[in-house]
Subunit: 330 residues, 2 copies
Amino acid sequence: MPTINDIAVRLGVAKSTVSKAMNNADDISESLRKKVLETAVEIGYEKNRNKKNSPRKLCILVENMDYKSPSGFGHDLVLGFEQMAVPAGWQTEAVAITKEMQAEISYDVFMLSSHYEGAFILGLSLLDPWMEDLKTSKTPAVLYDNYIQDNPLVSYVGVNNTEGFKMAVSYLKELGHTRIGYLGGDMNSFISRERYQAYLHAMAQHGLDTDETLTGHSYFVSECTQKFLPVLLAHQATAILCEHDHLANSVMLHCVECGYRVPEDISIIGFDDAAISAFTQPPLTTIRQNRNALGRCGYYALASLLNQTFISSLLLRAELVVRESAGKAK
Amino acid sequence: MPTINDIAVRLGVAKSTVSKAMNNADDISESLRKKVLETAVEIGYEKNRNKKNSPRKLCILVENMDYKSPSGFGHDLVLGFEQMAVPAGWQTEAVAITKEMQAEISYDVFMLSSHYEGAFILGLSLLDPWMEDLKTSKTPAVLYDNYIQDNPLVSYVGVNNTEGFKMAVSYLKELGHTRIGYLGGDMNSFISRERYQAYLHAMAQHGLDTDETLTGHSYFVSECTQKFLPVLLAHQATAILCEHDHLANSVMLHCVECGYRVPEDISIIGFDDAAISAFTQPPLTTIRQNRNALGRCGYYALASLLNQTFISSLLLRAELVVRESAGKAK
């Protein structure tokens, strides 16, 4: 196993310099510190993290998602993870991350410099710099709703979208719907791709046709409601599946503005069962993912990776929560 | 929650009769006992299994698979499961099952009558009677290498076959192979279907053609080697992926009998990393699944189901184990 000495030899500096750099000493320049950390990652150095009885640390990295307020989408994911990790003796830290920060420091160097042994990562898009890093990273990571094909040190936890959409389409078909549309985010998100594929798959399984007049994708909710929704309505969609509940809520509001009644004229189903969904007008029928359980499973997957058990994916069942936004086809 | 009294009322017998039937008393006929158990399952009765400090029990149901000898395919699956379950306070029992027994007694009734709270089930084919029962069963079950779409009380654990075949095809392509064949079992096995699809997917991803002269399927290994293998060889296959290692071993033996050298004339890759695979002639390159880890994950999934966390699937990474049965294309 590589030692501090190997880093010193590689960089042609004293062992004490490397040690100072690793421990954030004041008299080491930022550029040297960065070089030391990058070399440490490169040669596979693993800090003895139990030294001096310091606590062992895991982090929860969150981009673009509220996790502090109880109604925030990430709240229960973080809570579930911590409910498992803390009793097991880990210190956990939730850290908000940005694209800019990812571009500045690689994932492995960030983890090593902050003394984290593993990460639970929420909210990365496919364009995030660390998605590239994770293809070859050496520090265990569990991704919520993202998948890295070739690195056994990275696991994917999420909900089974295929099952979720199958339930929703089956439910709508029983209500008499055949023109079932779909609105979702752009294709720079793993989960947007997955859910769109799940919609297409469910429609095909139920023998229902799909075409471009029935679907729309945009990063912007307003583009979905103003550009695509009118097309779907003009082409006799009687029900619309939305990639997530906030989009579903906007779609419902927009339908009402345009003179359509929900669910009498048009049925809407969301995905996630977000905090808002029981309180929309009408209360939203949606496909639920149990985010507390996903956080707990995220910890299990990370503990497994740290224990050399390489989980590729762990998917929970989706659950159809029937409220009032979907009804019989006209 | 339904009680013994509900069963008594439903059947028009005394409560004491139901109680005797549930506790295997001698003076109750087998047919009445069966009726009591079936009614209990039907109305959702759950025995108070902690009564009288009796141990809580899980079972490992095994069909058509050796699990007693250390070299048996099921051995490490059972061991891994027990290594997690027993320290957690469960009593476990491994039980060999047959199609005949499944036809006689439903899964739920079997579980209730034997006081098992959940099952880890190995080796069922798609034609097994209990595969039908499991679509609506009420007793938590984790299936190794089988998947039930619509019942949240049933989880699937296994290895990621798609990743496994992608690694194998990628490895063969780097060795110069383009005519890569496939031999596997019949389509009455979930895992045979999965692996064949994984082969087709991997070939397509690598831009390689497949056709019926390159693939063969049979429940019988001898049909694969005697009927299909000659077709593959006659159609210039330079490498063959086999669904499992015992088939790969037979294919290698047959190739040698027909005057082909392995790997000089034909490369063979298996799947599973069975006990035999390091000792075949030549030692077999194969896609490994960590069966001990799968047994451990099987316990985790079952404990999760018992705790109302509904895992749909938990897949481990596959690993390519390079030995000597695959080499450069001629």
